[in-house]
Point group: D2
Chain length 351, copies 4
């Protein structure tokens, strides 16, 4: 059983240390989560007895839920996370697009301009790539950040990239606008703790065989570290079918809505595994009420170093955006026209 000890807001460091020490003496190892919250495995009665006479202790109780900070009950209404001009979780549907990997300045800038002109809100691009094979292209590494910096300045788009190593968190947090934790690292708790200690927006992808509650407990690691800028991302689960890469799990999106206040976006690209399936799945995500999508797009998919088969050619972005306006409307969101294209209004019923 996990015991949660909540301290008075006025508790001093010394007072907290005393709580920790007394709790330890019951034979367990306490953990300080925030200045006013300590947890420990163990017996409720034993811990209560050990702390009985301490004024700085506000409450000693069993953990009330698996993810008390991520749970829907933790706040009124949904959270919103700011990414550049976009507010993920608001009424506006958010679109993040860009290449799987940052390859060259020309590739990234060309793609970024198309993303910006189509009216999408942010640019994605991997510089550190987690690859199944050690012989596959592993990304440009830190050198890729310089290319991204140019693209950000050229387009004004915020930049989203994946972090795969605790030792890269600091430099990435200083140079990008949102950190992505990929599906394969969703339960890399050392990484979650390190990113939770920053204050940069985080895109947490659901693991390919993670349950909804496991995903929310992974988010809880981030929240527990003090980082409240967390966006969840459904990207497909591993299934028995070999005709596609993953089964995009939109049923899970509807359940996330019931269980958490965190925004939820969808990655239609990795499930699809083929370009022609990407727009239909993106539309499905918008229609079922997701807060946005993150989609792989490339100025020249045939030459992409990674995942070119599923990259949407930038020429298809306008069609995607136009159709998304209908799907997002169905889903209860809106997708506004890009700046400078005032005629491109919100889809609505033409009665």
């Amino acid at each position: 059983m996990t015991i949660v000890i909540r301290l008075q807001q006025t508790a001093t460091d010394a007072q907290r240390s005393e709580v920790v020490e007394r709790t330890s003496r019951t034979g367990v190892v306490p953990r300080v989560h925030t200045p006013t919250m300590v947890s420990a495995p163990g017996s409720l009665d034993a811990v209560k007895a050990a702390l009985a006479d301490l004024d700085q202790v506000a409450e000693v109780a069993k953990l009330s839920a698996d993810y008390p900070q991520a749970a829907k009950a933790a706040r009124d209404g949904g959270s919103m996370v700011k990414l550049g001009e976009a507010l993920i979780g608001s009424e506006e549907f958010t679109v993040i697009a860009g290449p799987c990997s940052v390859e060259t300045q020309s590739q990234l800038s060309k793609t970024a301009r198309a993303v910006q002109q189509a009216g999408a809100h942010a640019l994605r691009g991997g510089v550190f790539k987690p690859r199944t094979s050690p012989y596959a292209f592993q990304g440009l590494g830190r050198a890729g950040l310089d290319l991204a910096q140019v693209a950000r300045e050229e387009t004004g788009l915020p930049f989203v990239t994946e972090v795969v190593d605790v030792r890269d968190v600091e430099i990435l947090a200083e140079n990008v606008d949102m950190l992505q934790i990929g599906a394969r690292n969703m339960q890399n708790y050392a990484l979650l703790r390190e990113v939770g200690a920053t204050r940069i927006p985080v895109l947490l992808k659901r693991g390919l065989a993670a349950t909804i509650d496991e995903t929310l407990m992974a988010a809880e690691y981030l929240l527990d570290g003090g980082n409240s800028q967390v966006v969840l991302c459904e990207r497909g689960i591993r299934a028995f079918e070999s005709g596609y890469r993953f089964a995009l799990d939109l049923t899970a999106v509807t359940v996330f809505r019931e269980r958490t206040h965190l925004p939820v976006i969808v990655d239609p690209s990795h499930a699809a595994g083929a370009t022609d399936r990407v727009i239909p799945l993106a539309l499905a995500a918008a229609a079922c009420g997701a807060d946005g999508i993150i989609v792989e797009s490339h100025c020249d998919p045939a030459s992409a170093l990674c995942d070119g088969k599923q990259a949407l050619p930038v020429e298809d972005l306008p069609e995607l955006m136009q159709r998304l306006r209908f799907a997002a409307t169905a889903g209860g969101k809106r997708l506004s026209a890009p700046a400078g294209r005032p005629g491109w209004q919100h889809a609505r019923l033409a009665v």
Copy 2:
């Protein structure tokens, strides 16, 4: 290896019998699929030799595909299946709604009227229910058909119901408008053969762990029997998550589009397992390009004998239909206004 023997269109019964007999003599068991098609396991050379001098033989070849009749290449454009006034597979998005089970005349008629007034195209309702437990309500059986007949006449809606026993095929085919083969019977080949011998429209649900190709081979049983009125239905696959019943597999819908000319609709209800998730998933299905949906709806979900938790109250059907207009537009279909409500136009871009 499977050998396919195609006969001349002019081949007589006696000529076909000779083909069968000669093929048997190579030590295999031939199967007559249609008057001009015979198949057999075995060696191509041996069968060719056995039939070499027969004029009625047009071709002896290896089976060219796992599902030659269901494959996209088998015809130009997609198939359409007529169900009452609706044409499933056309540009119009089709909505089938109704209770899980036919329970009483009042329940069915009340629900049917709401379905009709909301502008849906057909009524569903189970009379023979395949139930996991032998102690659960198993449907009214043939008695339910009388109730259905009344509801059909009252509303003009065609009626769709499930068949679970080869011995019921005949009476159902005479009394309803479309036969559903459920997920649990998708590989009940005796039933597929029997329904394939009728000429009534069939709704073939994908098994909960059936691959895309297995589903198409099940459809091939129907087509091979001569019944070309086949509609596929994605209804969710079994996954590891316990927060919902099934993972609605819309990625598969995009792959079905690539592999078959058959129409594909989606059942959002069984995956959802909870009323609040049904509309989002129905919208997702429409947005990703499905040809229609089949959704459970009930005039009084709390009193339903089966699956009440996931039944959409009939009061919510108008909202579903209105939002579907946007989602279907995104998906490339349209959903017309119900008769008598001309103001309720097709959703379109309001530029």
Copy 3:
């Protein structure tokens, strides 16, 4: 909620009819399971009130469990099912072997003799084959039964075969020793009811995506029909891995042990999908405590019309049996020497 009404042992048919009729008047559809058991969906209070003054009613209660007759609590100790000389579920480990399909007399007889000489207990062989493709070999049908009859007489082995159509139950029940209900028909309830009405031993295979409890509820259909000769069979579940056909789920075998008194055997062949993997998986099944195995074996795998890739050559049966003696001992069973080979004793610790 399901209500179970138990009648006095002395209840007459007329008294039972009165119970059914009164229960119907509460607005539900009762079902007679056995002469002394009736069930109905509905309200406990309403049904109790309706039957309050009837002496023939012994008890009106909520259904106590999902599978009251299959549950471990239903009897002291495990059930045993007699198959020829073997007693499945006893301390002796049972081995059923034979071809996927009955093909020719020579093939079946040759294989049967090898099976018998290796010391296995029963012969398997399909005459009606459920095949994914309508163009694949579908079995010899009833003609295969004649071949089987010869092999039974030649070897004295009991014969196990699959039933796939309700219309074949009667003839099969008269001509074979055990009916197999295959994985694809595990939830073909019409078939379960029909086989449940016979008194022939049944081998019920777990569906490839059936949960443990769903499997036990399928068994409950058989038991509820009065057929208590039920053996369960684990044969692999559908998983995401493409390197084999199915994931043999031995963890489920350990859970079946906890939940039911029915014997459980394992089919290692279909999971394996390749000959070299069959013996290791058969040994694993025996070691984990299964009551037996059913394994595909063929006198000439290369020429098999079905599943030849996974058929164990009959030459390998002696090695299988010898190694099984160790594995079964580990698993708490024993595997005796075949008749006429007294030196081939039970494996035991040589201290």
Copy 4:
């Protein structure tokens, strides 16, 4: 496409640098794997042309396999990994046992002594615990290593522990005998690279939804770093069944045998999720030919801080070991008697 460039054994650092630089000029990013192996994405012709006149280049070729170093073809016979006195992959079956977590000196020492007395070969125990919830006990951390050191000295058993953070690799490599990479970190490539750079034995657990080939490519990261002391571990895959934690995938063990020379052991505890299922699954693993098991055992499961429900009480270890002797014999291995118990011989046929 991945291009592999192999250099002459005599190539100098400067010569390798020239290869890297010339390859880069074709527009790709080369990666140095070993002193004589460089890889790069890109065009075979372009890279060949760029390196055509360099004597230090022995071969330029497409990557011949997904995991050339882990593949069975990479060496004659199976690899063996030394762990204390045990040689994993030899004819002797290896047993690693111990608590989920190191908790106290008394708990660890008591358990270790029981493990040693039962004749097992190594002690397991977590000091850094990857936990689904941030509020669960996360292990004693480095303090746990001191307790482990005492237990090692008391029993002579080698100690196996999990590494979850790249920053802990060095200290763990200096203080323990084998590093475990857990299922959740199987595709944490930063960690794989860091552990691949050490020369300490590694136990690489298959991810809960990792395919066989993905697992082997994860192993390839370790091998590619120069660490050849790699043991694979099957520990159950995520399935749809809620009656247990994971489906132990012994079918995969048989396929690993076909595809790799690396030893494969099995963890029966995490799949089981309940004590009574552990011995049957351990026996199944041995019978199907695994090289060993790693099993959770505790001197007082009821008080365990982690996974107590699945911990085998140390009192049950002798029964496990005795039955394993039979199962391992069936599987083609042997399990010798513990030192000082010469009467406890190898199981063999008592004819």
